[in-house]
């Protein structure tokens, strides 16, 4: 597992959104995003980032404490130590007070042409 320096998220909300601040959890600590732009209301896009500078044993997007949050699409850009930055796009998911979504993905395996 590489050391995660920073990560950025771009979340497109679907049918149902939330009013409360979007939070993520890193290694069990719940934190709100920095540099937040936009909102998580239906049809809107929210962007945020965070400087982790640690090893992400777990990195999740926390569901709202009340109601349901339908995420249409979410892309996460990872800036890890000693690796090229990479991004992963996640598909539709619905979060609520009972769940959280895993947003950590290891860097892709290196490939080469033969």
């Amino acid at each position: 597992m590489p050391k995660l320096k920073t990560f950025n998220v771009k979340i497109e909300t679907g049918d149902s959104g939330i009013d409360e601040p979007v939070q993520f959890s890193v290694n069990g600590f719940k934190v709100p995003f920095d540099n937040v732009k936009g909102a998580a209301q239906p049809g809107e896009t929210m962007e945020g980032s965070y400087e982790i500078n640690s090893f992400p044993h777990s990195l999740t997007l926390v569901g709202p404490d009340k109601g349901k949050w339908n995420i249409k699409k979410m892309s996460v850009e990872y800036n890890v130590e000693n690796e090229a930055p990479y991004s992963i796009t996640f598909g539709e998911i619905t979060l609520d007070e009972t769940n959280e979504a895993n947003i950590w993905q290891d860097p892709p395996l290196p490939t080469f042409d033969v």
Binding site: I88, N99, V114
Partner: protein
């Protein structure tokens, strides 16, 4: 009569009985009241200890779910060209390397070549087994996964280049890559389903149940099967060993013509995954 009664009561010692009776009756009548008081007072005392008005509410334990990953990476398969393009992707463990080709090596099915003898009549596999260090291989549609004899980390590049050259040569020669005997022996999806399900029910699940695990057959495409590991198997540190040493062996013993066995379990999800 009253004088006689008075005298009797004086000598029997019960002279004040009538006076004693009153307090006695009043005590008896008080007892139920006392019981009621006690009965009323007890429940609030116990309910207070349960409620603890200043105690913080228990945090809700959330389930970690995995959103689907949308693959946007342009792979060799998606590039439309007459040229044979091959990408190699060694695994982290280093014992296997996946070769992704921009055309099918076997259409709609998969085949596992356990050793050189099993490759007889299949020109591609015969050619690949002649590369030094190849132990076994699995061909699934446009992907070839090679396992090498030397396990563990190590540079795949020299061997991968040799394998890539062999694949390209066979594809450009437009030879038949897989023997007709093998292609004719590929079972129907129904046959694969019934035999694999039987193995899961009779062998695999009774075995993993001891560890609180279970295995489900989720998909069949040609002779390729996809399974899902649940319960104690999901996220277990021994899941990979169970899959490779136990499940693969049991499936291939029951149905030697089964192709790729894929595990679609998200071992990072669940409440207590080892692979997180």
């Amino acid at each position: 009569m009253s004088i006689i009664n008075k005298l009797r009561s004086m000598f029997s010692g019960s002279a004040d009985k009538t006076h004693e009776d009153k307090p006695e009756t009043s005590q008896v009548s008080m007892r139920p009241l006392m019981d009621e008081v006690v009965a009323v007072e007890e429940p609030p005392a116990s309910s207070n200890s349960e409620e603890k008005p200043f105690k913080e509410p228990e945090p809700i334990k959330r389930t970690v779910i995995q959103p689907p990953i949308i693959v946007s990476k342009e792979s060799a398969e998606t590039v439309q060209t007459d040229e044979v393009l091959i990408k190699a992707e060694p695994t982290l463990e280093g014992d296997q390397c996946k070769f992704m080709v921009n055309r099918d090596l076997i259409e709609g099915n998969s085949w596992y070549f356990e050793n050189f003898e099993s490759a007889e009549g299949s020109s591609l596999a015969e050619s690949l087994f002649s590369v030094d260090g190849v132990e076994s291989m699995l061909i699934q549609e446009s992907t070839l996964t090679v396992t090498r004899v030397n396990k563990g980390p190590g540079d795949w590049l020299p061997m991968a280049k040799e394998i890539g050259a062999a694949i390209r040569e066979k594809l450009e020669a437009k030879e038949s890559l897989i023997s007709k005997t093998i292609l004719d022996s590929i079972p129907s999806e129904e046959e694969v389903r019934s035999k694999i399900q039987e193995v899961i029910d009779k062998e695999v699940n009774p075995g993993v149940a001891g560890h609180g695990g279970n295995v489900q057959l989720t998909n069949i495409k040609g002779n390729t099967v996809t399974i899902l590991m649940g319960g104690g198997c999901q996220g277990c540190s021994a899941a990979d060993m169970t899959l490779k040493m136990g499940i693969h062996g049991a499936f291939r013993k029951a149905l030697p013509t089964v192709g790729a066995i894929l595990d679609e379990t998200d071992h990072k999800a669940g409440l207590n995954p080892f692979y997180s």
